[in-house]
Symmetry: C2
Subunit: 324 residues, 2 copies
Amino acid sequence: MTSIEMIVAARARLHGHGRRTPLLTSPFLDEIAGRRVYVKAECLQHTGSFKFRGGWSALSGLAPDLRKRGVIAFSSGNHAQGVALAARRHDAPCVIIMPSDAPRLKIDNTRAFGAEVVLYDRAKEDRDAIGARLSEERGLTLVRPFDEPLVIAGQGTVGLEIAEQAEEEGIASAEVLVPCGGGGLSSGVALALEATAPGFTLRTCEPEHFDDTARSLAAGKVVRNAALAGSICDAIITPEPGRITLPILERLAGAGLVVTDEEALRAMALAFKRLKLVIEPGGAVALAAALFHGDRLNGGTAIAVASGGNVDTDLFTEALRRFG
Amino acid sequence: MTSIEMIVAARARLHGHGRRTPLLTSPFLDEIAGRRVYVKAECLQHTGSFKFRGGWSALSGLAPDLRKRGVIAFSSGNHAQGVALAARRHDAPCVIIMPSDAPRLKIDNTRAFGAEVVLYDRAKEDRDAIGARLSEERGLTLVRPFDEPLVIAGQGTVGLEIAEQAEEEGIASAEVLVPCGGGGLSSGVALALEATAPGFTLRTCEPEHFDDTARSLAAGKVVRNAALAGSICDAIITPEPGRITLPILERLAGAGLVVTDEEALRAMALAFKRLKLVIEPGGAVALAAALFHGDRLNGGTAIAVASGGNVDTDLFTEALRRFG
């Protein structure tokens, strides 16, 4: 289990390697939200998302002999890039397994960060079997995207920074809104806030129809999503909450928040105009919740994590065309 | 004249009110440039540009009785917004004089920051006469956009931060590339670097055909631009270098760098993709110089100031469409 001590240790290992991303504001956003809104600009993190923190925590926390053999991860998105760059900076071999129909750009980016990308055919091949074979042959350690204590500890460093930055800004209480897929970021941030900013409440944010965490929190048990595709918020779509992350959220998080794809696009256009930030749809759901679902919030101040900025040109242009 | 003591004092007054903007990097940009490139993301400053620093310095440095009467500025762009927000946060009245054909968005933004916007007809009215009348009637103090020691001192705080952040990153020598209009930012940064990072050389960056500073530095005298319109880099187009700023640059800056509009758009698209930053064309000329004019640089490391992010949706979309 991830403890606050593990998060503090992850932060010490991250020091000088990760970015302490800024907490940004705009009076225009405050006016729309009807409250003070802070945005934790994690899209400015290395590789364009918070996932670098978890990747770094996993690599730096691994025993040296295991690290030397290398790591493996299944991902076509932000987790792949975060693990790949963290591995390269540790001089550790890294294999990323991706479906062969993953976007070319994501494959190229992951290779550019130094990883060996192994492609598999979704229709014909078993991803897990390929991973197991490679792991065994080469002694690679699997880095899970969220159900992994070291990864949760790494993502929790976002929460330590929020607590510090909030204190610098004189914020005594707030709701902290976090985009939620498998729950690695939200559970890590919740643990960090519990220890360092107990006046803050964490709220998970998800896209409509893919709100497995909100429904699981409401039901008190794991509830799966009906579908696995069909949202523009691809970075935070998972079948169901994690087995490690959900119990943490059940203990610490408030009711989950849900936004529409259109609200996510609106939030992206506003972040462009008012914050000069590029946020991807999945990364914009927390800002969207702060701006458009204020009636569901309790506290006076909202702190929204903008968790990533890896968005295609076409989708970003669409957000600007429709709502810019 | 602006001194390093004035810049240090401006920074003390700015503390807790302005943002210490981050210094960002991307291995992809390094590869294009063939060198290490750092980007000082001043587009994340309040009001979306460094101009807030100069505005804050001017307002906070004014005698209290003068500040109470208020300030006045001529600008339809970033200077207007910087002065307006600084004035509002000082509870000081603020009048901004703009041409009546200024973009609606800029007028609205300046009003939203609390300023009284006075519009004049470019063809029929004398801007300076209107300003003089209002100043006399109300006792307003004029805040010049660049030829004003307090404003230069405020912009110079960017240089103090660059020197500090470079030391944190272990950068011993670098060329610091700065977008240059009237020269307020570049002369302020040059003075700050002279005192705090003497191994660094400042280089001004301008758009092609509007390179009055580069040509003035080369000629050893003031050279005007032939035209005043026709570049997409509107934020940094001035008739000629400032009377206060040019002598500072003559003493401290290297040869000026010049980029094309297309290179500025390319730099904007790369900042979108690799840094998750929104940069306006004029704010992107320094990054463009670092990326595409490396043959004109001497040092191994380039630090490019991204001076602002106030770009219209249409122009940003064009940059992404052509070069994204």
